[in-house]
Subunit: 199 residues, 2 copies
């Protein structure tokens, strides 16, 4: 039996707006599982107070960019540490530049680490086969594949791509410049790119 | 052995920019599977000509809406049948209204049909338990659950939601008015909503 802490009860109350005793009993029934306890409450007819109150733990901005007369659109979230930095022109400029960059360069992932294992294996497999087809000796094949993977990351990862407005630096370099200037950690949380008819 | 039709060869050539004989042989090796044949070509060192040439089969617009000083963003794609309609002010107004609506009403799905079976079952389960907890007779329980599911769709499906600017009509009604006015089929293909810190 999980312990029903005051913290858990408090969170469930915040989420649902239900009374303390109701929350305690629901948590007991759900064995301390918060989402489950929310369902228990709803089953008892205690409506959740609309959506979960979303407590914003990060600061930042949502940016968008529309291109080609509405045929292409980008939306992204860039995070920083304070509301103050999020409101600076420097930060706004970064968000705008990144949105434009994504529209032009069409990255598939934010960072190297975000490339899915399946996509990675598929690409390695292709590059290995290419190297062998080119008649390269087996013992240097792995090294060549590694080199080509770096190229692959530059093609598909936002952070590794050369920045479209200034292609001597990577997008990561651009972000680092802003971090240095604004004195706060800044990172791209997510992005999405829509093209008409592309779904 | 799958037949390698001229159509398949043509599509592979369009996708990759490779020569006809190369495409034929790759398709043979891939047993007529187009994506697989593309990989075969790449393994042979024949680079795909950048991204797949995306042939837009639908017309329409990508719309965005930013709210609360960049803390909330919406992007959506609305399709119609012709480029001409996509450029009309009426269509643009619809796209804008829908983006604003999504920002305000936070739908989870486009249509009833898009509600995932898991979400549907979970909700039915909750409503069934509520009805029983309320002491309603078993034989009317199903009917009551059905009624409450209609309410659920109105809460989570864009098309079923009351339009925020004019809540006597549903979003579907709004779209139908535009269909009647513009004389073309119009539909929402997809949407996404970002809130800072919400990931």
């Amino acid at each position: 039996m999980a312990e029903i802490t005051a913290q858990l009860v408090k969170e469930l109350r915040e989420r649902t707006g239900a009374g303390m005793m109701e929350c305690k009993s629901a948590l007991k029934e759900a064995n301390g599982d918060l989402p489950e306890a929310e369902i228990v409450l709803r089953k008892r007819g205690i409506q959740s107070a609309g959506k979960k109150s979303s407590r914003v733990t990060k600061q930042g901005l949502i940016g968008t960019y529309i291109h080609h007369g509405g045929q292409l659109g980008v939306m992204l979230e860039v995070n920083c540490e304070s509301d103050f930095v999020a409101r600076t022109d420097d930060f706004k400029e970064l968000v705008h530049d990144l949105a434009m960059h994504i529209a032009a360069a069409d990255p598939q992932f934010v960072r190297k680490e975000d490339v899915t294992p399946a996509a990675l294996e598929r690409e390695k497999d292709i590059q290995r086969a290419r190297v062998i087809a080119e008649g390269k000796p087996e013992k240097v094949a792995d090294k060549i594949v590694e080199g080509r993977m770096a190229k692959f990351y530059e093609e598909v990862c936002l952070y590794q791509q050369p920045f479209v407005k200034e292609n001597t630096m990577s997008v990561e370099d651009l972000i680092k410049t802003k971090i240095a200037k604004l004195g706060e950690n800044i990172s791209v949380a997510r992005f999405i790119r829509y093209k008409v008819g592309d779904e």
